[in-house]
Amino acid sequence: MSAGPDNARVVTLTVNGERVSRRVAARAHLVDFLRDTLDLTGTHVGCEHGVCGACTVRVDGMAVRGCLMLAVQADGAVVETVEGLTDRGAIADLQEAFLARNALQCGFCTPGMLITIAELLEREAAPSRAAIREAISGNYCRCTGYQAIVDAVERTLAARAGRAT
């Protein structure tokens, strides 16, 4: 049985490995729920219409725009933010490469970039520079000029390939 229409409802989901249950307004999008209700401010909010990529998080393993999904839609889902990926060490090498290549300045875009790139690295073993650029084309960075970010991804790829052989 599904509940009838309502302007707010209780959702239960897993966020960074922890089960949480909260009442949320139907109009609240996922990124506001993560930031304001759960205090997970690693994920940023920019344009709120899908263009900048700052709000990108993982839902059931896939990168999605946190500003274009309602929190009520995440009921039952497994959500992961940059805090979760960091805590379980899943992107430690990528983060180290970002630091080494100066792939962030103000850092506003970085959490969204990391989530987006983490998915690329899982889907493709050896993406070209062009494919990396394509993958981050939906993540705006107003500081770095992107070259350093692409460099950091290549550095991570090279290190991972080296480790695999």
């Binding site: 139907a26 709120e48 896939m62 999605v64």
Partner: protein, 283 residues
């Protein structure tokens, strides 16, 4: 900005969706949300109720039966991009998918949502036109089928009536020897096209071509270039075809560029397509 207040329902059977669509007020279906939620956040629309169809069984997935590929309305853009069945049977869709937005948006946006929205610059409606797709529409009264050529009726307007849900899109596999061609011009990767071309081209053994050319970004809906098709099928060359395209298309200008520029760009895409098709060996 933040979305206005609205009520939310998440039915798990189609009959419940029909009940909710019958209610008063501005009731909207919520599929991938990748067009609807931005319009809510920007306060361009203020529905009273969103009916989330994401948990309805049977609306998602790609399957082939009797030479027809059936794509559930809830199938995500990304699933189509990664489907081996689509790459084999309907390569036009595989070619178009990477041009739609960005990976995170393709993970969520749906085939049916894009077709129901009918943005004149969107890739999927043009592909459906080029492929002669059939839209499967359900309502309390039962199912009906609408040909792509009759489905797109204007700017963000379709043949869908109040109370109806687009449930699937059926596309017959193109005949052997037919090839797909897709290209578009956009300012940035992932942007909606300024002008685009989705083409499915039947080719005879002697090299004669019979192309279904669907242009998008050139008016209030995607357009099949029929006069140009006849010129090409009759053996006309690139210059003839490009000249004739002016009879098929009458683009109006938009924020992107003037109508005359769009017609010029459509001719450029047509010329490139014909040149590429002539040299392709994968007939």
């Amino acid at each position: 900005m933040k979305a206005p207040d609205f009520a939310y329902a998440r039915p798990t059977v189609l009959s419940e969706v029909f009940d909710l669509l019958d209610g008063d007020g501005d009731v909207r279906l919520l599929a991938g949300g990748q067009s609807l939620v931005p319009s809510l956040n920007m306060r361009l629309s203020a529905p009273s109720l969103l009916v989330d169809i994401n948990r309805l069984p049977g609306l998602s997935g790609i399957e082939a039966r009797d030479g027809v590929v059936r794509i559930g309305a809830l199938t995500r853009h990304g699933e189509i991009a990664r489907s081996a069945l689509i790459a084999e049977r309907l390569p036009l869709l595989a070619m178009a998918a990477p041009h739609i937005a960005h990976a995170a948006i393709r993970n969520r946006g749906t085939f049916g949502g894009s077709i129901a929205l009918a943005d004149p610059a969107a890739e999927w409606p043009a592909c459906c036109l080029a492929l002669g797709a059939t839209m499967v529409v359900a309502s309390r009264a039962g199912e009906r089928r609408v040909a792509a050529g009759d489905f797109f009726t204007g700017l963000f307007a379709t043949a869908l009536r109040r109370g109806e849900v687009l449930v699937a899109i059926e596309i017959a596999s193109p005949p052997a020897g037919s090839v797909a061609h897709f290209s578009e011009l956009a300012r940035r990767r992932g942007d909606y096209a300024i002008v685009g071309l989705a083409a499915q081209v039947a080719r005879a053994e002697d090299g004669a071509m019979d192309p279904r050319l669907a242009f998008f970004g050139v008016g209030d809906r995607p357009v099949l270039a029929e006069a140009t098709r006849r010129v090409i099928a009759g053996g006309g060359g690139i210059a003839d075809a490009q000249a004739t395209l002016g009879r098929d298309l009458a683009p109006t200008g938009d924020a992107e560029c003037a109508g005359a520029t769009k017609l010029h760009l459509a001719r450029v895409l047509l010329g490139r397509a014909m040149a590429a098709l002539r040299t392709r060996g994968d007939a």
